[in-house]
């Protein structure tokens, strides 16, 4: 993040002066950028917490201990608890595939994996209604066997999996690609099996990216609104997730309760960002250590690995 400063460190002030803006312009740019963030991002974030505590801490706690709110929290935890592990297993498999091999059709497959990012959440919900709804392709068969997917929990879980589908894969793949395969190839020549390489070498190398992928996937899974809204049917106490409950409370002008539930989700978002920062620092520390210690454990295995290939 501080590349510009580190790059000019130690040079003469005269030289630095030539490629730097004047004080006034610098101040104006910082002011402009921060005002933009303040107006569009910080104001709403502060509002969430200010409105949640508008009637004091007591009202906040009362709002959160409402049975319908509690059941919404439970359903959200259940949906994320199913969606995140499934997308985690897929994410590791897909990242391994794309980072370790070259094969025909790789770019097309990668584009397809990214597809849920570019599909509107509303359409993500709609496709499941068209597939499993009463009017859908499998609707008659499902109702004959008394299985409910749409307007029930399975639909919510499916929609959540769809919208968070590429999240772990994306984060893990980025880290795997930047780290290369030297250590894995070294392990292979030393006789490790594929699973041993995956669990003992690769997953350790990418652990921070993996952690961030999981937590980001989790935040999106718990916060998904559009897709879940379409398939849920909004049955209070049954198919209401936290974001849907926020909507209901807000539309009933129960602002303190709406923002109290919203504040839980906002805190989850802030924790997610915090873990991302830690993951970035850890990744920096790793690459710095590798550069600084040419005979360290890390680069030694890299040297061994590069010989046979």
């Amino acid at each position: 993040m501080s590349g510009g400063v580190a790059g000019t460190f130690g040079r003469s002030t005269e030289r630095r002066h030539r490629v730097r803006e004047g004080r006034l312009l610098r101040g104006a740019l910082i002011f402009g950028a921060l005002s933009f963030l303040g107006i569009f991002l910080i104001a709403p974030l502060v509002t969430v917490f200010a409105s949640a505590f508008a009637k004091g801490f007591g009202a906040y706690v009362t709002a959160l201990s409402d049975p319908e709110t509690v059941s919404a929290i439970e359903l959200t935890l259940l949906a994320a608890g199913i969606a995140v592990p499934l997308n985690l297993v897929f994410g590791v498999a897909a990242a391994w595939l794309f980072a370790k091999y070259e094969f025909p059709g790789k770019n097309i497959l990668l584009t397809l994996v990214d597809l849920p990012f570019s599909v509107s959440p509303v359409i993500a919900g709609l496709v499941f209604v068209l597939l499993f709804g009463a009017q859908g392709w499998l609707g008659p068969w499902l109702s004959a066997h008394d299985v409910r997917i749409i307007f029930a929990v399975p639909g919510i879980v499916l929609a959540t999996i769809f919208v968070t589908f590429p999240m772990v894969a994306r984060e893990v793949l980025a880290v795997m690609q930047s780290q290369g395969n030297d250590e894995e190839e070294a392990a292979l020549t030393l006789g490790a099996s594929g699973w041993q390489i995956l669990f003992r070498v690769t997953l350790k190398k990418v652990r921070w990216g993996l952690l961030y992928g999981i937590i980001l996937c989790n935040a999106r899974a718990m916060g998904e609104f559009g897709a879940v809204s379409v398939v849920s049917g909004h049955i209070r106490g049954e198919t209401n997730t936290m974001p849907l409950h926020v909507e209901i409370l807000y539309n009933e002008y129960n602002f303190v309760a709406a923002f109290a539930v919203a504040s839980l989700l906002a805190m989850l978002a802030l924790v997610t960002l915090f873990i991302k920062k830690i993951a970035e620092w850890a990744a920096h520390a790793r690459s710095d250590a590798a550069e600084r210690a040419p005979l360290g454990e890390h680069s030694l295995s890299a040297t061994v690995g590069s010989t046979p290939s």
Partner: protein, 274 residues
């Protein structure tokens, strides 16, 4: 192995098989249901539903508010990336972390918060009201929400390119007598342009499909403040599956085109870097 592939590590068949199976089951099969539904309705009905006045107003509104939001993000995202890479100021790492907030904050939470801030009695809404501007329940409110959801895209695509930019070139331009502005316009900006456009296209794609943060602030009046994703939901609530499918097909077509554009742009960006 019938496919020729590069890479000596084991697990190719398993990881390829699992990736394709899971992708097919979770993503391709459901999307296929939409295409199947669209084709079973028949082109005439589909066309009629997709082009009724209410739908046309919704596409137009979605398009111009998304373009406005993505443009605001292009300008201020570039500014933010510049400030974060090149200057030091207190709280910089917090600001840098907060840029990603729209990725992590649920859209419904953003929606009710933005509506509260920009309502007529809200903190910023009342200030706008004093100069005679209404934000909530107007297209301006939609633009505000779509700007919020797009904030990370331009910053995160431009930032790494700006970090890797070699400042020797800038020094050379300065020594040859270019003003700082000329250096920016002729040297720095062309180098940033591919990544800036990629970020713009990503923000645009996200904005076109956005639902949760808009639905509260827009007021959803048919033909005035009803964006296309909201119209799909309205159609579904009226059990008009043909109408919903028709509008969704148009939106899906638009996202595919944008996805193609993003792929071409990022290929251009990678070439420009090397």
């Amino acid at each position: 192995m019938f496919l020729r592939r590069r890479g000596v590590l084991p697990g190719f068949g398993l990881s390829l098989g699992y990736t394709v199976f899971y992708l097919g089951f979770i993503v391709l099969l459901p999307l296929g249901a939409l295409i199947l539904k669209a084709s079973s309705v028949g082109l005439v009905d589909l066309y009629r539903s997709a082009t009724e006045t209410r739908a046309l107003s919704a596409y137009w509104l979605s398009l111009y508010t998304s373009l406005a939001g993505a443009s605001l993000n292009a300008v201020f995202g570039l500014m933010l990336a510049w400030v974060l890479v090149r200057y030091e100021f207190p709280g910089k790492s917090i600001v840098d972390a907060l840029v990603d907030l729209p990725f992590a904050l649920p859209t419904a939470v953003a929606g009710i918060a933005l509506t509260t801030v920009y309502a007529e009695n809200g903190v910023l809404g009342s200030m706008l009201g004093r100069v005679g501007v209404r934000a909530a329940f107007t297209p301006l409110g939609i633009i505000i929400a779509l700007t919020f959801v797009g904030i990370p895209f331009v910053v995160r695509t431009v930032q790494p390119v700006l970090e890797d930019l070699d400042d020797d070139v800038e020094e050379a331009a300065a020594i040859l007598g270019a003003t700082r502005f000329q250096t920016f316009a002729r040297v720095i900006f062309p180098a940033l342009l591919p990544s800036l456009l990629t970020g713009f296209a990503l923000a645009l794609a996200r904005a076109l499909g956005e639902y949760g943060s808009v639905v509260f602030i827009s007021g959803n009046m048919p033909r005035r403040t009803e964006i296309a994703p909201v119209l799909i939901v309205t159609k579904l609530e009226q059990y008009d599956y043909t109408g919903a499918t028709a509008i969704a097909s148009v939106m899906l077509g638009a996202s595919f085109l944008l996805l193609l554009l993003v792929n071409l742009l990022s290929r251009w960006a990678r070439r420009a870097e090397t």
